[in-house]
């Protein structure tokens, strides 16, 4: 009992111990922050990769894709571990915004929207789809005009902004479901909305075209064009303070053009580039800068046709199978994606040589090279280096934390020297050497526990507010931005603290300080009571 009693009393009364506690607090906080930022970065990367790719992907890493994807999907869809599979096409193109004379090279992705909603988390990244559920389409569509409608009865009629159906009803459903506007664009537009709110009018989220002419009723206008989902960072430019500025006034439904280079069956560029008009259907806001600043999404069948990768007939009457770049697969709950990927890889190899389909050598080779990978395996080139970096940083931080351990060692050793006579007194009243040593081990552990707890709390608080802290620093000077979204892929610093990391840091602090206290404890224990009593 005296060990605990004296440990707590020394902790409270020896002010030098506060220095040790302070050092441990700072080290623990530092380690937790580094672990959380890098760990959060990896987690975010994994979550985004999984949300954008599905559980397993079939890919041959060839620009001109692989054939027999429909047959493959039909076969594997009967497997119990496969919940849903969808083909995806990747290409490159030139995106032009005619009204604002802006052109960008983009990665064009062909998707089947309904399927991709089921296979991965693409739907959650769509801004307008969140606020107007069910209205985002890659099919033919016109321009929605935000008009004016009369509301009220009799003499209390008033004109309010109104979107055409089904947008208006869809937005009412979203509002009823508690979806809050998260638009990060255009301060001017925000101030316009605020003025509407001031007049008791609830503004619509997003940006829509306004009527041009006498008829100001809400309506659909213009020629029908297929829809195109555009990455957030293509439509807008992120400002140093974090908000987005649109490249001019560019509302949903405006026309954009996409120029594509079709490829031959052999993988060469064939003929002339193809230009096609689309309507801007939605923003994709995945939060991954590389994706949001490069990717646009259109209908799979349309892109396949434009790239001349759809099914065709040769002059000799033989069939040229359609091709896709990738098949994204959702694995049924309770099944292991890695095992499913393994089975799929074997199946595709057999499938290529099954002889059930008339394939030429090139097509068979494209199919033979197709491999199944889990989302994690496909992203290992990104995830593995960050995980290594995380381990490396933990080692570096651990080495830095040794300073705290050495400080604890020095302080405790000093306290033992100061308390030499106390050691003699305790031994003279019958305390064992082991018991006396235990006081200083417990003292070290207590310094570690208090420092670790304070450090974990400090680190946690810092992490929770890390983006606000950065914004505050940027408000002082834009050059104080620490997290550059164009470098680190994500627009916000990962701020999630894993409780297990916090507990780990706390336990490690206790262990480290306990370790640091052994030398002092050993000296105290080995002290002869008579020498200790005579110590000056």
């Amino acid at each position: 009992m005296y060990k605990l009693f004296l440990t707590l009393r020394y902790l409270r009364k020896r002010r030098i111990a506060y220095a040790a506690v302070g050092a441990v607090t700072l080290c623990a906080a530092m380690v937790l922050i580094v672990m959380s930022v890098l760990g959060g970065f990896v987690q975010e990367m994994k979550a985004k990769a999984r949300a954008l790719l599905g559980d397993v992907i079939l890919d041959n890493r060839s620009y001109h894709g692989f054939p027999l994807y429909e047959e493959l999907i039909a076969e594997i869809s009967t497997w119990p571990e496969i919940q849903r599979a969808t083909p995806v096409l990747y290409s490159w193109g030139l995106l032009r915004f005619p009204q604002i004379e802006q052109t960008a090279t983009v990665r064009v992705v062909g998707v089947r929207l309904e399927d991709v909603y089921e296979v991965n988390g693409f739907r959650r990244s769509l801004y307008y789809e969140q606020h107007y559920p069910g209205t985002t389409s890659l099919g033919p569509q016109k321009q929605a005009i935000l008009g004016v409608a009369e509301e009220g009865t009799g003499g209390a009629l008033s004109a309010v902004p109104r979107l055409p159906e089904p947008l208006h009803s869809a937005n009412e459903r979203a509002r009823a479901a508690g979806v809050r506007d998260t638009d990060e664009y255009d301060r001017e537009w925000t101030s316009f909305r605020k003025s509407l709110e001031k007049d008791g009018i609830t503004p619509y989220p997003g940006v829509f075209a306004l009527p041009d002419g006498m008829d100001d009723s809400p309506r659909w206008e213009g020629e029908e064009h297929p829809g195109l989902v555009i990455g957030r960072d293509i439509v807008g430019v992120r400002q140093p303070e974090g908000r987005y500025r649109r490249l001019g006034f560019y509302p949903r439904g405006y026309v954009v053009t996409l120029t594509l280079l079709p490829t031959t069956e052999a993988g060469d560029i064939s003929g002339q580039p193809i230009k096609r008009a689309f309507r801007y259907a939605d923003d994709s806001r995945t939060g991954v800068h590389d994706i949001d600043s490069n990717y646009v999404y259109c209908e799979f069948a349309l892109l396949q046709r434009l790239l001349q990768m759809d099914e065709a007939q040769r002059e000799d009457g033989s069939r040229v199978p359609g091709r896709c770049s990738q098949i994204q697969i959702k694995i049924a709950p309770g099944h292991d994606p890695a095992k499913a990927a393994e089975r799929l890889s074997k199946f595709v190899a057999d499938f290529a040589y099954s002889g059930r389909f008339a394939l030429n050598i090139s097509e068979r080779e494209l199919l033979r090279r197709t491999r199944a990978e889990t989302w994690e395996q496909s992203q290992r080139h990104v995830i593995a280096p960050i995980e290594k970096e995380r381990v490396l940083m933990q080692i570096v931080m651990g080495i830095i934390s040794l300073v705290a351990v050495l400080l604890v060692l020095c302080i405790l050793y000093m306290i033992v020297l100061q308390k030499t006579r106390d050691v003699g007194v305790l031994k003279s009243v019958g305390a064992s050497s082991t018991g006396v040593g235990a006081i200083f081990v417990m003292y070290g552990a207590a310094v570690g526990a208090v420092g670790g707890l304070l450090g974990a709390a400090l680190g946690w608080t810092f992490m929770v507010n890390i983006n606000e802290i950065q914004e505050f620093l940027i408000s002082i000077h834009p050059g104080m931005r620490v997290w550059d979204f164009s470098v680190y892929a994500f627009d916000r610093i990962p701020s999630r603290v894993e409780p297990v990391d916090a507990v780990g840091v706390f336990v490690a602090s206790i262990l480290a300080c306990t370790g640091g206290s052994f030398a002092a404890a050993w000296r105290a224990a080995r002290m002869e009571p008579v020498e200790a009593l005579r110590y000056e």
């Binding site: 004296l6 009393r9 007194v425 003279s428 009243v429 019958g430 064992s432 050497s433 082991t434 080995r526």
Partner: protein
């Protein structure tokens, strides 16, 4: 104090000086036999005790006098299981305190719980002996009450403490009242006078009812008035049957004892 102890206290104190007498040794509670202790000062070995013998009966008040550096304190430490002699043995109630000469470590073991002899020495210091030092040696972070209570904590052990705590606190309060410090319980040592500090040290040495009180120059650091007050306490304790071995260089103080021994050239002699 039991009747038996009172009777023992009244019995004639027999000390065996300068050799072991069978008559004297018989019935002695605390006995040193041929104790030698040498200290090393650099390369020079300084013998402090040379085959010193001593027997103390229960209830006896023995004073040991000697010049400064004559080894009085060393003898007291050896008697109280604090310092291991190179030769000889100390017996408490007939039981040896130290390991046989060839198996002594002359250095505290960090894991002394693994050694039977070290455990026995700890037990003796915990239960049998009570120490009063010249410089009080109170723990400065603790209050008067806590300084005494810590002895009870050491003695009781963590598992028995929850049930023994109330009784221990009562005993500590009673002991501090006996030395006249019940009004100073929450004071810290630096808020007390020298005499008061020594009284706290006496309370600490007596709270666990030790068989032998070992006092090393208990008045050496006090003024005459405070010294007299401390000696009055010692005499009262002796009258109540407490066995006391006191080291002093002050003849007036030594006069309070039943008998006075003189340590000279590492050996004890009756004055």
């Amino acid at each position: 104090m039991s009747d038996a102890r009172q009777r023992e206290a009244g019995a004639t104190a027999a000390a065996v000086v300068g050799g072991t007498s069978a008559d004297g040794a018989r019935g002695a509670f605390l006995r040193a036999e041929g104790v030698s202790r040498t200290y090393r000062l650099g390369r020079v070995e300084v013998p402090v005790l040379r085959r010193a013998d001593l027997s103390v009966r229960r209830g006896e008040f023995a004073a040991i006098m000697g010049k400064s550096g004559s080894g009085k304190s060393t003898l007291l430490h050896v008697l109280g299981a604090l310092d291991e002699p190179q030769e000889g043995q100390v017996l408490v109630d007939g039981e040896p305190v130290y390991a046989p000469v060839g198996r002594r470590s002359y250095r505290a073991r960090a894991l002394d719980v693994l050694s039977v002899h070290e455990r026995r020495r700890n037990r003796l210091r915990r239960n049998t002996f009570g120490f009063v030092f010249q410089f009080y040696h109170l723990l400065p972070e603790l209050t008067v009450f806590e300084n005494v209570l810590v002895t009870e904590m050491v003695r009781t052990g963590v598992l028995r403490w929850p049930t023994a705590r109330g009784e221990a606190r009562r005993r500590v309060a009673a002991e501090l009242e006996r030395v006249g410090l019940s009004h100073r319980l929450s004071h810290r040592p630096n808020e007390l006078s020298g005499g008061e500090r020594q009284r706290v040290a006496i309370a600490r040495a007596l709270v666990h009812r030790p068989s032998v009180l070992l006092a090393d120059e208990p008045t050496g650091n006090l003024d005459a008035t405070s010294g007299a007050a401390i000696m009055a306490i010692f005499q009262a304790l002796h009258a109540a049957g407490q066995t006391i071995v006191m080291v002093t260089h002050d003849a007036t103080v030594a006069a309070c004892a039943d008998r006075v021994l003189h340590l000279d050239d590492g050996r004890l002699a009756a004055k």
